[in-house]
Every structure is written in structure tokens, then in C-alpha cells.
């Protein structure tokens, strides 16, 4: 799933570790989500959306087709 996580994180001046701490996951998980290698669960996606005060659909975009 494509996502704007890295763009939003960098706009807030947070490192992957900072964001990981805020949503209580490991830095590895944040990295895997940002690189599109892992799709987060719904609760984690909601947590991330709350951090950036955005809707899930503006952060995560499912693959077409």
C-alpha cells in the first residue's frame, strides 16, 4: 500500500524512532510501513492518522487493480 507516512513524518521533524515511540511500535515497523513492505493493521493505521491529525485515506492509498 502506498502511503505518505515518510513525507508527513519529515514535515513534522520526527525521526522514525520518534514516530515509533509515539505510536508504541518499533522503528523497524515504521520503516517497513514507509517502504511499503508492510501494511499496518487498522488500529495502528488509526493511531498513525491521529498523530498527524489526518484521515486514514489521506495517508494510505491502496494499490489499484
Amino acid at each position: 500500500m502506498k502511503n505518505r507516512l515518510r513525507e508527513l513524518r519529515e514535515a513534522h521533524g520526527w525521526s522514525q524512532g520518534d514516530l515509533a515511540e509515539r505510536v508504541e511500535v518499533s522503528r523497524q515497523t515504521i520503516n517497513a510501513i514507509e517502504t511499503g513492505k508492510y501494511d499496518p493493521s487498522l488500529p495502528l493505521a488509526f493511531k498513525l492518522a491521529r498523530q498527524f491529525k489526518q484521515h486514514i485515506e489521506t495517508i494510505f492509498e491502496p494499490h489499484k487493480g
Binding site: G17, S26, Q28, A32, L44
Partner: protein, 202 residues
Amino acid sequence: MQRPVPLRYNLQVAIAMTIYVAVMVLAWPLVRTAQGMPVKALLAMLPVLPMLYVIGLMARRVMGGDELEQRTHLLALGVATTVVGVLSLIGGFLAAGGVVKLDGGVLIWVFPVLMLVYGLTRWWLITRVYGGSPGMECDARQTMPWRWRILLIAGLIGFVALVFWWRGDRDDTLLGMLCGMGAAMGVFLVVAAVRHLRGKAE
């Protein structure tokens, strides 16, 4: 469940494994000469105690991990269980058919092989599938650098060898093996330290 602190987890596992090695070296050989079945059984089961503690630590680590960590742990354990199950099946049929001779001691290797396959599979998942590195699981400040881990293990092996020698046990092979393992780790650390300092100087 609270996320486990890697440094504390690594220390606890290192201590438990050292106790396991100490028990295997110092107490387990007494099984053969022990008098009475209850004492024999107790001595034979002694190494199980630190291993049960390590299993408990691992379970807590898995339950305290985040969703991706739990996925990699459980996938790796699934693969390891399958591999060990298949190997056991093959060994069992070969032994039952009289093709190979296997005694009960081979069962001791089930858990180490399980852990080896689990570790390799998890490493592969983290690095090749999810694009991370094993050290990314945690904040670098919370984990013990690998040099310190090897130094700790070398020190603990040296301590076990010292107790072994102090007891006056005459198994020179085992004592030599322990001293060799500790010394090899020490040499490795010295070489790594020299390379690290040279890298800094450049």
C-alpha cells in the same frame, strides 16, 4: 503488555544461558554416578530449569512485541517447528527401521535446532522481506552493542572454566574447550577493537 527492554532481555538470557552451561559442565556429569533414582532424576532435569526460564523470557518478548514483531516471531517459529518436525519424522523412521542408531540423547538437540532455525528465519524475514535490520527493533540506546555482548559471554565462559578448574575436575578436554572458547572470543574482540580504532583514526 509493556514492550520488552532489549538490554534487560539480552542480559537475562545471557545469565540464564551461562547458568545452563555451568549446570551442564558442573552438575550434569554427576548424573551417571549419583545414587538413587530421585537424585539421578533431579540432576538430569537440572538443565531444564534455566531453559524454561529462557522460554518464559522469549514468550514475554513475543507477547510484548508490536504487530510486525509478533508476525516475524510467529512465522519464524512456524517454520522452525516444521523443519524440526520433519527432521524428527525422518530420524524416527530411520531409527525404527534400524537404519541408524539413535539414543535418547539426540532429543537434547531438538530445542537448539529449533532456536537456530527460528533465528535464521527471523533474520531473513526482517532483512529480506520487511527491509529492516535486526538492530532496528529498538532504540540503539536500549540495546547492548554486540562487542559488549561477546565480552560478556567470554567473561561468563571464563568464569565457568575457573569454577571447573577450582573444583579440581580432571576433564582436561572440557576445560580446554571452555578456555579455548573464551580465548577465541577475546581475540575476536581485540581484533574488532583494533579495526574500530583504526577506522576512527582514518
